[in-house]
């Protein structure tokens, strides 16, 4: 079957989709967007978290056909998404938060000059990334949590991220990263 939907603001079309394919498979294997990760394919790890019409969901559990005509944001579009949100919230005054915290490139693989969202930068700065496989899903989930709850308590953060497994960090640096992003967000406003 054919599926048309919007990903990170761009209309996309996927052809010859097998009816049992998930949104995750279509993103990764058909649209060249492998940022969302396939760690369990049973909704237990959150590595494939994307926003479907704004709502964080496990893309491995959304049938491809269910996204027809809908709007998806993945980790690849998170920086733009956050930038637009920041612009929108200041009534048209461009508040380029993402740029302010852009990566300071040091080494060859840093992806110098890449604009990042506050939560992405906080994950780098706090040391919340190790193998990084859980990172895309955590970023999408954490970004949405901070959108709803800009000043979360530690218990709020833990509950908000309880659907995202990480095997490397012991979660402490992830806690640090979310606290850091929240603090920077409240300073920035």
């Amino acid at each position: 079957m054919r599926v048309n939907f919007t990903v990170n603001g761009r209309p996309q079309e996927a052809d010859d989709v097998w009816e049992g394919e998930s949104l995750l498979y279509v993103l990764r294997e058909r649209l060249g967007l492998p940022g969302s990760k396939n760690a369990c394919e049973q909704g237990e790890c959150g590595s494939c978290t994307v926003r479907l019409d704004g709502v964080p969901v496990c893309s491995c559990l959304v049938a491809a056909g269910q996204v027809e005509g809908r709007d998806v944001v993945t980790v690849e579009g998170l920086a733009d998404f956050a930038k637009q949100r920041a612009c929108g919230s200041t009534c048209g005054t461009p508040l380029d938060e993402a740029k302010q915290w852009a990566a300071k490139g040091q080494d060859s693989q840093t992806g110098e000059g890449t604009e990042l969202s506050p939560i992405q930068q906080a994950f780098i700065d706090a040391g919340a990334v190790q193998c990084g496989f859980c990172t895309p899903g955590l970023l999408v989930a954490a970004d949405e949590m901070l959108e709803r709850n800009p000043n979360p308590t530690d218990a709020d953060i833990r509950e908000g991220l309880s659907g995202n497994l990480c095997r490397c960090t012991g979660y402490e640096k992830i806690m640090d990263a979310v606290r850091l992003a929240a603090a920077r967000q409240s300073e920035g406003v």
Partner: protein, 296 residues
């Protein structure tokens, strides 16, 4: 495999009538796991996401008509006052991402004994609104679960909504898992006090082939509360009554040993949860009652 995308409820019923083997998919949190893990290859997938009525609810005089696809997140956020037991149960479902997609209709459709909503529905009292091109009917929740992962739906029927009695007293819900979040129930227990009818209802999950009520325990407690005048005098329930209630709840279980827990543990834990939830609800009832008297 074919993917059917009805745009309306009527189209969905027609599609289900034409293809009774079609598997309805809404939140996808059960169906897609089975497809991803190659446990199931349905001939037809019947997508219900385009039918927006299913994600709506109406609060009526005595009950809430909850659309089959209202996500658990919405229940937690919006129906805590009307459906406190189900709201608590919803909060124990998997993870935020799953609660954003999954709903009670899916829980009922799958009818797994481990479904988190069942004990709360049994305790509150509910009816399942099932519909086909032949017409609509309300199935009492006590008659809905017919076996392990089997329910009372006819092959051409879809679940449209659940009618759940609005709480007329305190309700509680507890679930045991071996992790502090995102866990399938080892066993679960729901309890609702119904001061208007002076009855108590229970629901037990994951401790029998189907979700069940502990009817003997309910009858015992109804009688004990009645005899002692507890509903009126608001006294603390005596430990021996609470213990016997807990024991009867444990006795209502017919559990198995599996990788999630032993049968013996399940019986034990249901007893503990029964005692604790009774204490919590009764304390709450006493508090409310005292408060009401004070105002009067």
């Amino acid at each position: 495999m074919d993917f059917l995308r009805p745009a309306s409820w009527e189209e969905a019923l027609a599609a289900k009538a034409e293809h009774p083997t079609a598997v309805p998919i809404a939140g996808g949190t059960d169906v897609m796991v089975e497809i991803n893990f190659d446990h199931r290859r349905p001939e037809y997938l019947l997508d219900l996401n385009r039918i927006t009525d299913l994600t709506e609810w109406e609060v009526g005089q005595d009950s809430v008509r909850l659309g089959a696809s209202v996500p658990y997140t919405r229940i937690m956020e919006n129906l805590r006052a009307e459906l406190p037991g189900l709201a608590l149960a919803s909060h124990t479902v998997a993870s935020p991402q799953i609660r954003n997609r999954g709903g009670v209709g899916g829980n009922l459709g799958t009818a797994s004994p481990a479904g988190d909503a069942h004990p709360a529905l049994l305790a509150a009292g509910a009816e399942v609104e099932a519909e086909s091109v032949r017409g609509s009917r309300l199935i009492p929740i006590d008659e809905f679960y017919t076996g392990v992962k089997r329910n009372a739906l006819a092959p051409d029927e879809l679940i449209r909504a659940v009618h759940i009695k609005k709480a007329d007293g305190p309700q509680q819900y507890s679930k045991v898992g071996t992790r502090n979040a995102m866990v399938i129930a080892v066993c679960a227990f729901g309890l609702a006090l119904h001061p208007e009818t002076r009855t108590v209802r229970t629901g037990i999950g994951s401790a029998a082939p189907t979700p069940v009520r502990a009817k003997a325990a309910e009858e015992f407690l109804n009688a004990a509360l009645d005899e002692g005048g507890f509903w009126d005098n608001g006294k603390i329930i005596t430990p021996s009554v609470a213990k016997q209630f807990a024991d009867l709840c444990a006795a209502a279980c017919n559990p198995i040993d599996d990788v999630r827990g032993t049968a013996s543990y399940r019986r034990h834990a249901v007893g503990i949860m029964a005692r604790r939830t009774l204490t919590w609800t009764w304390e709450s009832y006493r508090g409310t009652a005292a408060h009401t008297e004070g105002v009067a």
